[in-house]
Amino acid sequence: MKAGIVVFPGTNRERDMAIALKRVTGQAPAMLWHRDTTLPKLDLIVLPGGFSHGDYLRCGAMAAHAPLMAEVRAFAAAGGHILGVCNGFQILTEAQILPGALLRNANLRFLSQDCHLRVERADTAFTRLWAKGDVFRTPMAHGDGNYVADPATIERLEGEGRVAFRYARPDGTVAADDQAHNPNGSLNAIAGVFSENLRICGMMPHPEDLVDPLMGGEDGKPLFAGLVEALGR
């Protein structure tokens, strides 16, 4: 799997992502600069976390217009796999590659803590090493992770099974109005969504920060290992 990580000014989790990818693929991913206008041949593009352009105006708004995003869009249209994490998810929604938007956390504070995610379907490249309903732990660290979309969009996402992950209690129950277990106040406790073809996934928490027992566990590793299985090593 040849992976490329897009770096915008203010991106700050590209190293975490590179470490996670290298752990499962054995090779360092390509680092792509936001001003590039061509892509190397890739199996996976990752938009990592951080504060692109300072997250000024709206998180991800300015990055969504970067020159390289035209290539990312074409890559998506051609059926390529894209993972957007945290700021990367925000950029994908701002670019309208994924539906919805991410508002300020309901309690208006930056939240840096572990959360539990429930896997909503297991037949995608991102989730194939889990079973539907599995719960895994992952760190989250964001100020704007409160997922919203208009009712019609939510209905479509739910109807088409495009919710990737939901915030959940460790036992897998989901309670969208329980602040302890849907900490940022997301609609339907949505933590991540898929594109229509299930090849693009955006999510707020950081599985890439939990791929090493030394850092507290490997709960996030199946996501990356699954991608390798689906897209080849």
Partner: protein, 80 residues
């Protein structure tokens, strides 16, 4: 000319910031306050002397970048 673009969340989109402000104002004894909505304002100097053209530019910039039309509405005024 100077153009002001005001961006507010669409009606129906929950506004946690507005809610928090309303709550804080009640705690401060401003009991007469009802609904509160929070938004952004962006003031732009535009090298343009025609008010209509300046407004049209403000509109274009709002659509291109300043507002996220999925969740936000905007208005444009020429202020100077």
């Amino acid at each position: 000319m100077k153009v002001r673009v005001t961006v507010m969340l669409k009606d129906g989109v929950l506004d946690p910031q507005g809610k928090a402000i309303a709550h804080a104002l009640h705690v401060l004894d401003f009991g007469s306050v009802g609904e509160v909505r929070a938004g952004r304002v962006i003031e732009l100097e535009i090298a343009e002397t025609d008010a209509d053209k300046a407004r049209a530019q403000g509109d274009a910039m709002a659509r291109a970048l300043l507002a996220n039309l999925v969740i936000e509405d905007f208005t444009v005024e020429v202020v100077a």
